[in-house]
Subunit: 321 residues, 4 copies
């Protein structure tokens, strides 16, 4: 039977966390992370390795204009060429030379153009965002409810890499591959770890490796992709994880399994489960390292930047082993 | 005797790290952080507390237009009001309703407008940036040498809060107060910690608390301020720290102690020492917590975002205790 | 009797042009300008003088952050300092020197931050914009109805300067001065001109001259100001003008005469009359010239830029005499 | 013999206007337009037609990212959907409903991304811009010399359409077609007009019509194109025109005729002649009209916006017949 909006509604109802942490909660699954978990996660740091999962933010990024998203535009306000040309003092320091010459720069970027967290205000379903707040809380002013700053001091805990591609013995999953419970459990077995409550889970499909192998992003952003499928939802719900991130632009499999519903897992996970989703995480260096040392769990530290009223945020997520 | 450019040159020569980590080094004092230090720092996590040192990024920030810096401009590409108005599907999904309604946003911001790391490309002295690279490496294209992305996987280690204001028994240091060796050592004694090689040091002057008490930023950004003075340089150099950040806009005391040199410590620290400087860190919540539990050391995780060729970066620095 | 929303509703009803030019009209009062009027206006060009009414667009502009409006941010993408520093070819032309070195720049600006036309989509009253289109036509996507591009080929005709300040014998009208029928007719008499159908009328209050005399914009943008008052509405409606612009930030008198209604004339003029309003026009050079030669009428050419779906546009309005 | 840098130097020397209008001149060929010419041009207005030559500024524009140029990014600050959703008053008017609901928007755009004038500061040759100013006058601060604001009150005069494509009996010239003296004189003959001193000349190659016929911009921006060739230079110099604009992205033929020099005519025209060049002018509606009524001359009004220190400007150029 083809999945449909009814499937989405059913999964949403089954895994809804609305009210679970109070009627005014805006932290969602981050509530699952206890101080004890943070202490335990710190205990995973045994080698002193620090590995970033961020893709560089620059004009070589994956965006191609879809959804109004473009790669970051970086411009200098003043620079070293001004120093060489002698224009730095003349134009920026009022003609008074006090030996110091600074440079400054500016960024213009969609907050979801690269490695990113989705905030709860990012998705509206049937007029509501997570925990039942009405869509009107996310106006042109931004997300007065469900903004990304709610996670500003909470994205620390045990990280687990589920290298699904490696676990299945391939370089990358093909577009359209729906990662389900079996795939996830094979990746757990491969990692020798059981995912549990409050974990930060990183699902590697190999999609970024595929783009690297191709030497071009192609339609990485917005196109067909491997990713979590409907069959993953119960597993995710049962495990009660704090967050899930992947190396694809949108976390879930594309084309969507529900012909009548776009991004069904965003609806279940973000709107109903209050689950933090991460996208465009570069998991390749971490995967190489985990394959080498066999340690698939680590201390994760990856808070968003506290952009007030924002519905997403770039970040530099760190795996510390 | 009044300090001058000669003082700056002398301190720069005394503490220069040019060549210390090779002729092509762009990581500077981050080289001091060893894997052992990271493991040891993780051992400081005993309570599971996670405290952010980031000021929110929004239009209520401290910038007032000086140096071309302004507070972040946040705009919605599409939002929940569009959902309510029924324009979301019409205008952003081609008129095809597949139940999903997303929102997206954009940020326009100087990379040094809020809580930030300065990259080495941020300061040029006598035509050079850190490690002797010429100013021409920081062109309108950005910092081809000395960009902030060099620190993308390195800002993890032992953090130490030096609450100078509290150590001196005041709510905040007055503008013009030059924090020197004595103040720093009093703060160390107050914290019960000796700062050492590879540490991440956070110097609290109380300047942000003062702005909060006043209910307005006033000339916090660019104005007179307490901060590190020339007398702190030898201490910083001897301790061989990985990075220093403060709760002021520019880390160092203002007015500068050198009438003929602007921001002399930027010249010594960034250009010659290759030291990472952090500014506009909100140290007040951390200071409250440290005063309460007496633990002034913690695991620090605060990488910049990997903005390619950028001379600064916003971040969300975390103290994990 | 104090004016109120009832006054606004009455004036709106009396002067409504909804339907006057068809149910789908988006040009409003520009429909009044006939080809004959354009030819006649060209006949006013007798001296070959060309006078701009635009304020420079730069960081010295009048905006102070209110309403999310800021002065234009201008940044270079690459510049002449790069040429001097030798970085132009290296960083922007792939290292291949073909003698040419270009520079480029970028602007970030609210479309209503300087000299500007208001589009009909700029004001909503009781859920409607001009000609009865619902507010939902102006979504996050922009103004699908009532955008400024509707005037892209229509802002040419007879211009008339009504120098109210000079006509009243003052350097500038005081904030709170409501320009009414009497003032306008005195200015007509002073100009020796009778305003008629299809004219482009420029009302000089002297507010910009006052800011110049003060040497600072102060609260020019968003503050109290002289400007058109409720008593001007019948005159404007009777004369059936094509557009009205003034040298203030908002055209109408501030504080508003209606305690319960903000910007009542915007509601009457833009929403109901379909009248094009111009703001922050620099009328001082033109006024000097008119005072000198006594010619207060001229060929006006001042189209907006055709920003698709925009609710306002900067422009360089020209008086040609 | 293949043209080369020597050709460019020779043409530059032959047609240099450096010093012609004084050593500090920044207006270049606009000096050629006399008041008498403006009066005479106004006399060409006989039908009252007003025709825009601007391409809409929006995300459907021709840019593809080359040279750091992108299509305008237009975002709403607040909009009508907020009115419908009831968030307008709550979020932008402090919760106080005074019946007025405004909308506002913002633009982010390279100043040379659409219909545009090039300023003299846009091109540097051998370290100099027009009239001998050094490249250091165009720093990260912008063009302190040679900015586009120099033309703010001068772009009015006789306009002449040279429809080269129509004159040659084709829908459009092919990429690589170098328009020379013969083509221009055939277009003059076709128009029945002789171009003279102080004229504003619009050269139609049909390149935009070709893109329209193809239904896509393809590599219109930055790619191969028809355009003025080296053989046009003497004609342009002899006629002493005020400005030349075309319907291509770069005015001159591509590939360039000089293998060792990029954009040779920009070097001759902008740097040495001080000639104002316009690009991406949409000449198709005007051409249709001229073909219909046979009137190829008109009053031209097309000033740039006075962006201080900018090296280019969008505009809405008007032909008034």
């Amino acid at each position: 039977m083809t999945a449909s909006i009814e499937t989405v509604r059913e999964l949403s109802a089954r895994h809804s966390n609305w009210g679970r942490w109070g009627p005014e909660d805006e932290k969602g699954t981050l509530n699952l992370v206890t101080p004890e978990m943070v202490v335990a996660a710190a205990g995973l740091v045994k080698q002193g390795k620090v590995i970033s999962m961020a893709l560089p933010y620059d004009d070589a990024g994956p965006q191609n204009g879809g959804l109004g998203r473009f790669n970051p535009i970086h411009l200098m306000i003043r620079d070293g060429a001004d120093v060489v040309a002698g224009t730095s003092i003349r134009d920026f320091y009022g003609g008074v030379d006090k030996h110091f010459r600074g440079t400054d720069d500016i960024i213009i970027m969609p907050l979801q153009s690269g490695t990113q967290w989705d905030a709860f205000g990012h998705v509206v379903f049937e007029g509501k965002i997570y925990n039942g707040y009405g869509a009107e809380w996310v106006s042109s002013k931004g997300a007065l409810k469900g903004d990304v700053a709610n996670a500003a001091d909470g994205m620390v805990g045990r990280g687990v890499l589920l290298d699904v591609a490696r676990a299945l013995g391939v370089d990358w999953l093909e577009p359209g591959h729906a990662v389900g419970r079996d795939d996830l459990e094979r990746a757990e077995a491969h990692a020798g770890i059981t995912v549990g409550s409050g974990d930060f889970v990183f699902v590697r499909t190999g999609a970024m490796a595929a783009a690297r192998a191709a030497g071009a992003w192609g339609d990485y952003a917005g196109g067909e992709a491997p990713g979590l499928g409907l069959d993953s939802v119960d597993w995710v719900g049962e495990r009660d994880v704090a967050a899930i991130a992947a190396d694809t632009w949108g976390l879930e499999v594309r084309p969507n399994e529900t012909p009548d519903v776009a991004q069904p897992l965003h609806i279940v996970f973000i709107v109903h489960m209050g689950l933090w989703l991460g996208e465009i995480f570069d998991l390749d260096p971490l995967a190489e390292d985990c394959a080498a040392d066999g340690a698939y769990e680590f201390l994760f530290c990856g808070p968003p930047l506290p952009f007030t009223r924002a519905v997403g945020s770039p970040l530099n997520p760190m795996a510390i082993k």
